[in-house]
Symmetry: C2
Subunit: 157 residues, 2 copies
């Protein structure tokens, strides 16, 4: 199964970036039973990376389970943590999903919505490579900081 195969090599340079380190921290925080204690970063982040071939094996329609949801939460929590670090203001993620895995992810800073994404097919939430995951996060982060810069008073600066 896609979940088990490791698509991240332990020496992937992306693992050393601030974002990957934050993602690992978030995944550990959400792991209430500590079942991943002692796992290396590559193994913790492995479920986020699914190749196109592997993704094709996941049914197009499916209900997201708790494990997938905690991954989605970890991703947006990590982005919120990065926003917070960059602008010094609290960034709060909110994820609203239907049982079918459709919904909306928001990050707010003060009275400002700095990210607003429609979520689809959450049961297949993944990226083709670790580097693509980081690219997506970087893109969201830079747009978010731009919005804060544009409306600093609404953000609370």
């Amino acid at each position: 199964m896609a979940e088990i195969s490791l698509n991240i090599t332990p020496d992937d340079p992306v693992l050393g970036t601030d974002f990957a380190i934050e993602m690992v921290r978030q995944m550990r925080a959400l792991d209430a039973y500590g079942s991943s204690d002692g796992w290396p970063a590559a193994r913790i982040l492995a479920p986020f990376v699914i190749t196109k071939e592997q993704k094709r094996q996941i049914p197009i329609v499916g209900d997201p389970d708790e494990v997938v949801l905690s991954r989605v939460n970890a991703f947006y929590n990590a982005i919120a943590a990065m926003i917070e670090r960059e602008c010094g203001l609290m960034a709060v993620p909110t994820i609203n999903l239907t049982h079918e895995g459709f919904g909306r992810a928001l990050i707010t800073v003060g009275k400002l919505v700095v990210m607003d994404k429609t979520l689809r097919d959450v049961h297949r939430f993944s990226f083709p490579t670790l580097s693509k995951l980081k690219d997506e996060a970087d893109k969201i982060l830079s747009v978010a900081l731009e919005i804060v810069g544009e409306y600093p008073r609404a953000a609370g600066l």
Copy 2:
């Protein structure tokens, strides 16, 4: 049970207000099976009004079911509709709840958060009178419009 007893009289003047009419519309919209077709407004809104004595009979801890959730949605959808009507901009409600009935309700207008509420004990979501329900909605509406007025550009005006 609290759910069945009617705490709204059919001649309650609040039933004629814009907000109560919008609430009824939202409840009908969320009633996928049309099981409340033909019900008068007082009966449709009755579950929102629970006296203190009735509320005491509901266990303090409980998981909100679909019926209660659709009530919470109807309430915030109706407020969003009122905001939209007043400022002419789209207002989007987002409700994020844990299984235990804790969470957050947001209404956004453009890039602006015009309402941000912490939700608790959602399984007991109710008001002591219909007039108290309307007061709460009016309060949220007026704060929301104030925020839009303060940050018109972020709201998209």
